[in-house]
Amino acid sequence: METEKVVPEAEELPKTIVRRVVKDKLHDCSPDTDISVHKDALLAFCESARIFIHYLSATANDICKESKRQTINAEDVLKAIEEIDFTEFVDPLRDSLDEFRQKNAGKRAGTSKSKEEKKKQKVEGEASKKSCGKTEKDKKNEE
C-alpha cells in the first residue's frame, strides 16, 4: 500500500487544473465531438507534467551552474527549453515573460515609489538633524 503514495500530494500538480488544460485542448482539437479522457490517461498527464518540471529545472540547474551562478534566472530556463528539444515554446514564452515583466513593473513602480518617498523623507529628516548638529557645533566653535 505504501507504494501507492510515493510522491507527497504537495509535490503533485493539482489534478483539476491538469484536467482543465487537457479538456480545453481536446476541445480545440475536435470542436465537434466530445473526447473523453480515461482516468489512467489523466493520471499519466499529471505525472508527465511533474516529470517535465523536474527535467526542465534540472537542465536549467546545470546551465546555471556552468556559468557559476547561484540563482536560476529566466534566460537559464529559456536555454534549458531549447536544450530539451521544445524550441517551439521559446518565442511564445518570451512574449509571456515580457507581459509578466510589465505587470510586475507596474506593481513594483507603485511600491518602490512609496518607498522612495519614505527614503526621501528619512534623508531629509536626517539632513535636518545633521544641520541642527552642525549649527550646534558651529555655535560651540563660535563660543
Binding site: V21, V37, D40, S57, L93
Partner: protein, 130 residues
C-alpha cells in the same frame, strides 16, 4: 449571541479561502495556470542548494502548461488515428515511444504489456544471453 455565532461561522470559511488563495498570487494566477508555490516546491525537492528567480518559476509554469497542451495534441492525433472517441493511456504511451523529445518520459509512461508477454520476453532475453 446567535448572530455572533453565525458571524463566526461565516468567518471560518473565509479564513480557509484566504489560505488557499495565498498558494497562488492573485495577479500571477491570472496569467498562468498552476500555482507558483507548487512549481517552486517541486523545484526545491530536487535542488535545494540553488536559488530561482520569480521570473524563472513563471517560465517553468508556462512551459509546463505548453508542454501539457502539446502532449495532449499529439496524444489526440494518435487517438484520432485509432478512430476512438476517448483518450486512453495507450495513446500517451504510443506518443512517448514514437517521438524522441518525449524520451525523458519513457520510464514514467511506458507502453503496457501483459505480464505473460513480459515474462516470455525476459526468458527469451535470458536464453539469448546464456
Amino acid at each position: 449571541q446567535e448572530q455572533e455565532a453565525t458571524n463566526e461561522k461565516k468567518k471560518k470559511p473565509n479564513k480557509n479561502g484566504k489560505k488557499i488563495e495565498r498558494d497562488d498570487d492573485d495577479e500571477v494566477s491570472k496569467v498562468c495556470n498552476f500555482p507558483m508555490g507548487r512549481i517552486k516546491r517541486i523545484f526545491k525537492t530536487q535542488s535545494s542548494d540553488i536559488g530561482i528567480t520569480g521570473e524563472a518559476v513563471f517560465l517553468v509554469n508556462k512551459a509546463t502548461d505548453k508542454f501539457l497542451e502539446q502532449f495532449c495534441e499529439d496524444a489526440y492525433e494518435c487517438c484520432a488515428k485509432d478512430r476512438k472517441k476517448s483518450l486512453a493511456y495507450k495513446h500517451l504511451a504510443a506518443v512517448v515511444s514514437e517521438q524522441s523529445k518525449y524520451d525523458f518520459l519513457s520510464d514514467y509512461v511506458p507502453e503496457k504489456i501483459k505480464a505473460e508477454d513480459a515474462l516470455a520476453q525476459r526468458e527469451l532475453a535470458e536464453g539469448g544471453e546464456g
